[in-house]
């Protein structure tokens, strides 16, 4: 619970209906889509205006209490997990598309706007917003900015970072920062790059301007079936090496193909050990040329099946299997745990092999559906949450996958963010001086550390304990010795 004083302050500034204090009202907010760790928020505020956001920031700053900002709650790493002694600021009611500028090819929206709503608003001008996380119907752009969300089309069009041109941010001190804008460059430090992916720890974004692109004239999808996962992995590198940057390049392993087929019967080759889906978009001439080239590469890597979809209906059918993979996994096991490691493309084959070995060791099934072109893995660990051993096994299995990703030159998260889920692995990926530098950056905006505490950046003490070194009050013993 939060203090009476803080609550009084909130009531003084906000309408009563915007403040939720009863347990039954707060329960729907106890986690985002990372449901492993839940917490009941101290109080929930459903902001209806930027003025409300300002008020919440002021109260949290003056009362020195935690503030967690949340959009649609579709995040997969627990970035929006509430704090029991703090305010959960929900921005989903701030969902207006403020402007679509067809000349500048930009849209300016409020943070609660869903990802898909931007493309829908831009459609009449023949434009679209490229990053498309799987949850795009529901996820809000504010959350996309907080996590630097990706999606199927990042390979060609980039992540959220590459597609956001401007942000308006309120800091906990009450300053409004207008970052970037409609020009191609600005003076000063690139605070915009710092804000994107900062997991709600540096400020609250109240307005977002994104880049829009012309909707491609033509779109083809090529499906390749392979008898060997490793060869399919190598084919991904082969396509890139052939000088083609596909709109999307996705891979599904045997189990994922089977699950998708049982769920939606889209006509994937059931006996394939791996399936690649390669989307090629652009002008007619461009797509014709790149389609031929990719098909040749698939042949050279001994694809057992190659299927080409050229009309929108066929393309949708081929994509459907990929899209239903996650719900289909839900039919293979009562629970699944989705990982998000990112690795160099040339490691795809060997890493999938290593994951398969771990799967045998933990005696837990694993299904792989992922953004192969980006080297962004999404192993789905299948388990039964009601079985304590399986639950713990799944967590350990997941942690081991992430450690393996770091070992082969990758990273613990490609697009889902660290949140609470991967906070311990941050200590494996970064040295203490690096973690310390993150904290100093955090202090630039939030010296009292009330913005989304306990997320994304582990304390030095936590890392040292994991590394077996004791840190007292954040002080490293014998700081003059170099250790890292």
């Amino acid at each position: 619970m939060i203090s009476e004083f803080a609550l009084t302050q909130l009531y003084a500034e906000l309408p009563e209906h915007a403040i939720l204090t009863d347990q039954y009202q707060k329960e729907p907010f106890e986690s985002d889509a990372y449901t492993v760790k839940k917490e009941l928020p101290g109080v929930v505020v459903l902001a209806e205006s930027v003025g409300h956001v300002r008020s919440v920031l002021r109260v949290c700053n003056e009362c020195d209490i935690p503030l967690v900002t949340r959009g649609a709650g579709t995040g997969l790493s627990g970035g929006a997990r509430p704090h029991r002694e703090g305010v959960l600021l929900v921005l989903s009611k701030l969902n207006s598309v403020l402007e679509v500028d067809p000349l500048a090819c930009t849209a300016t929206v409020e943070p609660g706007t869903t990802n898909l709503a931007i493309s829908e608003a831009a459609k009449e001008h023949g434009l679209f917003y490229a990053p498309d996380p799987s949850s795009q119907i529901a996820c809000s752009i504010g959350g996309n900015v907080a996590e630097n969300a990706g999606g199927v089309h990042c390979l060609k069009y980039g992540m959220t970072l590459h597609n956001v041109v401007g942000l308006t941010v309120l800091t906990i001190e009450g300053d409004e920062l207008v970052l970037g804008g409609k020009s191609y460059d600005w003076q000063g430090y690139d605070f915009l790059a710092l804000m994107v992916g900062s997991e709600g720890m540096l400020g609250v974004v109240t307005e977002i301007s994104v880049k829009l692109l012309p909707i491609p004239a033509v779109r083809h999808v090529l499906l390749g079936g392979f008898d060997d996962v490793e060869i399919a992995g190598n084919c991904v590198a082969g396509i890139i090496a052939a000088g083609v940057i596909p709109g999307g390049l996705e891979m599904m392993d045997e189990l994922a193909v089977r699950a998708a087929e049982e769920f939606a019967e889209v006509g994937y080759p059931k006996d394939a050990k791996a399936v690649l889906l390669c989307e090629l978009d652009g002008t007619e001439e461009e797509v014709a040329s790149t389609t031929d080239r990719v098909a040749e590469v698939m042949k050279a890597f001994d694809a057992s099946v190659i299927e080409l979809a050229t009309d929108p209906e066929q393309c949708e059918r081929l994509w459907l299997g990929r899209k239903v993979a996650f719900p289909a996994a839900g039919r293979m096991a009562s629970d699944f745990y989705c990982m998000d490691g990112s690795i160099p493309r040339y490691q795809i084959g060997p890493v999938l092999k290593a994951i398969s070995n771990m799967s045998e060791r933990y005696n837990l099934g694993v299904m792989n559906v992922f953004h192969a072109g980006d080297g962004n893995l999404h192993p789905l660990i299948l388990y039964d949450a009601s079985d304590k051993n399986q639950r713990e096994g799944a967590e350990q299995f997941g942690a081991e996958i992430l450690e393996h990703c770091i070992r082969v030159g990758g990273t613990i998260t490609g697009e889902h963010g660290v949140g609470v889920e991967k906070i311990d692995q941050m200590c494996s990926q970064f040295s203490l001086p690096e973690i310390e530098q993150f904290h100093r950056i955090r202090n630039v905006f939030d010296v009292n550390r009330n913005m989304n505490p306990g997320k994304a950046i582990p304390t030095l003490a936590r890392c040292s304990e994991l590394g077996g070194m004791h840190v007292h009050k954040g002080r490293i013993p014998f700081p003059e010795l170099s250790r890292f």
């Binding site: 003076q187 710092l194 890139i240 660290v418 950056i441």
Partner: protein, 343 residues
């Protein structure tokens, strides 16, 4: 190929110990842009050079900061790849470290993105003397704050850049460029025909009544987009390198040169005002270079997003914002890197 990181580390440690600020430089190709204290000793990263790792199939190269841009271009071109943000070489001495610190991009900026967009990871020394690594060698990476990208354009104020991993792109199969004599209004409407749809347009430049366009991509697509210009003169693609490196005749005098960033919706290609007798516009009408007499501040009808004195202008002193000041302090509390440079 040399690894000079231990010397650079020692130099930073010594600077910290003696409280002696340093001016970080690569090979000095952009030294005319430096606005800080010029009396402090130089710390040159130009000997810390060479490729650390290059895997063409990954489209990623990791190079030391002192590597020459010209060398990077040669190495990547051997594999049909390029660093697409295409930073200027100026006199040919430009280094990767300098390109990142200045954040400067070539004529393809609106289509290929910025230096920061293609920066995947860095290795650096901060103002505490700590060697640090941020980001990585993979395309997607959201672990921790995006420190590498903040270094782009930070003008060496946050630390010494040691190496960087850069995302590369395949060199387009085909490039064709044309020049056509049109009015400023016509040039605006011509360009917008291509920006409204997926096209192969990847460079625009307008000055002296001539519009220059570049088309890149697969041959059939480029040829299709060029159909409207069958009657026009095709030009040597070297034009774009000259534009990038400021070796076009437009840049060859001692007048005050300003760099003006305009809104993406401005589609600026000139105006009636006599104030702007000599100007050049690139980036779809969003980047304006203009010359003025006696260092006079340029006046244009459109509200610019940023105006920067570029050459032969006595730099006006500006003040850092509260947060810029704090960010500098977070990396370099003893102010040993590039003192006097304000961002």
């Amino acid at each position: 190929m040399t690894n000079d990181s231990s010397q650079l580390q020692e130099a930073v440690n010594a600077a910290l110990e003696q409280k002696q600020p340093l001016r970080i430089t690569g090979d000095g190709s952009k030294s005319f842009l430096y606005t800080g204290d010029t009396t402090v000793p130089l710390l040159a990263t130009s000997d810390h050079k060479g490729v650390i790792e290059y895997r063409p199939e990954e489209l990623v190269i990791t190079v030391r900061a002192g590597t020459k841009l010209s060398e990077l271009r040669e190495i990547t071109a051997e594999h049909g790849q390029m660093w697409a943000c295409d930073p200027p070489l100026f006199d040919g001495r430009g280094t990767v470290g300098g390109a990142i610190s200045s954040g400067w991009c070539g004529p393809g900026r609106p289509w290929y993105g910025t230096v920061r967009d293609s920066l995947l990871g860095v290795e650096m020394i901060n103002g505490y003397g700590d060697p640090l690594r941020f980001g990585g060698k993979v395309i997607k990476n959201v672990a921790g704050f995006d420190v590498s990208r903040v270094l782009a354009g930070s003008q060496g104020t946050l630390g010494v850049l040691l190496s960087a991993s850069l995302k590369l792109l395949p060199v387009p199969e085909h490039t064709r460029s044309i020049a056509t004599s049109v009015s400023s209004q016509e040039s605006t409407s011509l360009i917008s025909q291509y920006t409204k749809r997926t096209s192969t347009l990847s460079g625009t430049c307008y000055f002296d009544g001539m519009l220059y366009l570049r088309f890149t991509g697969v041959a059939a697509a480029v040829d299709h987009d060029m159909q409207a210009f069958e009657a026009n003169e095709e030009i040597d693609p070297q034009f774009w390198q000259k534009l990038r490196d400021h070796t076009l005749p437009f840049f060859a005098d001692d007048k005050a040169l300003w760099r003006v960033s305009l809104s993406r919706s401005s589609l600026f290609h000139g105006e009636d005002s006599n104030e702007l007798e000599e100007f050049l516009v690139e980036w779809n009408g969003c980047l304006l270079w203009c010359k003025t007499q006696n260092s006079k501040f340029p006046t244009i009808s459109m509200k610019p997003h940023a105006i920067r004195g570029f050459r032969n202008i006595k730099h006006e002193t500006s003040r850092s914002t509260k947060y810029a000041h704090r960010l500098k302090h977070a990396f370099d509390p003893h102010k040993i890197f590039n003192p006097g440079v304000v961002l």
